[in-house]
Subunit: 141 residues, 4 copies
């Protein structure tokens, strides 16, 4: 199991949270929630975060996920729900990042860092100023 930065495990730092029901189909032969099923729950958390901050398909730029890095901290179980906490961070010239922590029964089971690049559909372009402003309230505290 990974040893993450303890500061990233505190749900209070994340401005967005979504509770997810686990599914029997998430289980694997080890009888715990499969690592890829956790990746699906984290993806779902990012999409809902983007909806909350008003990111739409019709922006004047196209966001592309460049990388996803997941640290697996503890086994997650069925049928308990999980809560997915999400924050924006590291806003750069043409990219921003999302930090997540996935919690089950009060215990962090995974953290995730995602790099999103702002593109014109082909190549990276500068992040529009208004979008940069919209990210403001959703930053990691």
């Amino acid at each position: 199991m990974a040893k993450p930065d303890p500061a990233l495990l505190d749900p209070a730092r994340y401005p967005f949270a979504h509770e997810v029901t686990t599914r029997f189909a998430d289980l694997d032969p080890n009888d715990h929630i499969n690592n890829v099923a956790m990746a699906a729950v984290l993806e779902d958390g990012r999409v809902r975060f983007n909806m909350a901050l008003g990111l739409r398909r019709a922006e004047n730029f196209r966001p592309m996920v460049a990388s996803v890095s997941i640290d697996y901290l503890a086994q997650a179980h069925f049928p308990q729900p999980m809560t997915c906490h999400v924050a924006a961070c590291d806003i750069g010239r043409s990219s921003w990042q999302m930090q997540q922590v996935l919690v089950q029964e009060g215990r962090a089971v995974a953290t995730c860092r995602t790099v999103v690049v702002c593109t014109d559909g082909q190549k990276a372009i500068p992040l529009p100023e208004d979008f940069r402003d919209r990210l403001g309230p959703w930053l990691l505290k």
Copy 2:
């Protein structure tokens, strides 16, 4: 879309219900919840129903799913949750059935009928009397 028996669409007839969060990964290129994702949600509802009625891995028989028939009634959407209603029905000598209706925003989006066979791990055996009794409170009303 299928035309189901209207009597099967009434949630009040089902003794068990579970609310499921939809996930972005459930969507397909038609931008609705994929038919197979609905099958996963229905499977999850059956597993939770079995847990509620006390069906354990250590029964003196082994249940095997013989068939699953899903009628797709309407498109289901993300990110709204769905509620999965489940009931037992048609208890036979060595099998029983499960009836389900999947509801989103007050609208039935799918029904499902599952045949479960009681086996010794290899071949069908008679349903134990005590399990037959345990199914009693969970029948379709």
Copy 3:
């Protein structure tokens, strides 16, 4: 396990076949290919069948899956591949059906019957004559 019509288990009757690699994520806590993963493989087989017969998104009608019925005949395993055999059958006035058998290591593990309704996007409409002709070579033998 279900007892299917033996005549439906003969791959030679099906004009279309596609070999699928199984994935670790298809396994469930029973250490066999999960029933819903089999549903995903069967769906994939139908989509590839539709591509082979030239069904496109831009037809003058919109096909909708009304129902999917799967009989589970035997356990399927990882990491062996499976072969999905597909045929059209029961062509009606405004619907047609698809019959499938899923085979692993020479053994039928599931059969599937799917009802597809021809619609204008809302309600059932008669199957266009030219599409009826195109289905001809793809019928169950």
Copy 4:
């Protein structure tokens, strides 16, 4: 899209390869293979790599995936197959890593780095010498 180390994109450096069929269920509303579906294909590649090098459930240690980092390089499509190339690398005292590149139609669509920790089921333990030897032929060239 991420800009990966070009040296990691050369399939010839990887001692193991597995061709995977894509599935309709892998597609998302953007009509390309979903990022999480790619994670499932990469996981499948690691499991098959472990089978090839003889890693069994009954080792005298228990491997645990500590982290998975995926760089998404290009869109992947259905129905074309993908090839998953896998190698071991960075063998440490109590952990080792796996490097992967996922290729579709001659183009790298993703790379992945996975850290696996050698444990006694609870905490990290030194990698057994014989397992270290077994990894030898499977290193990134």
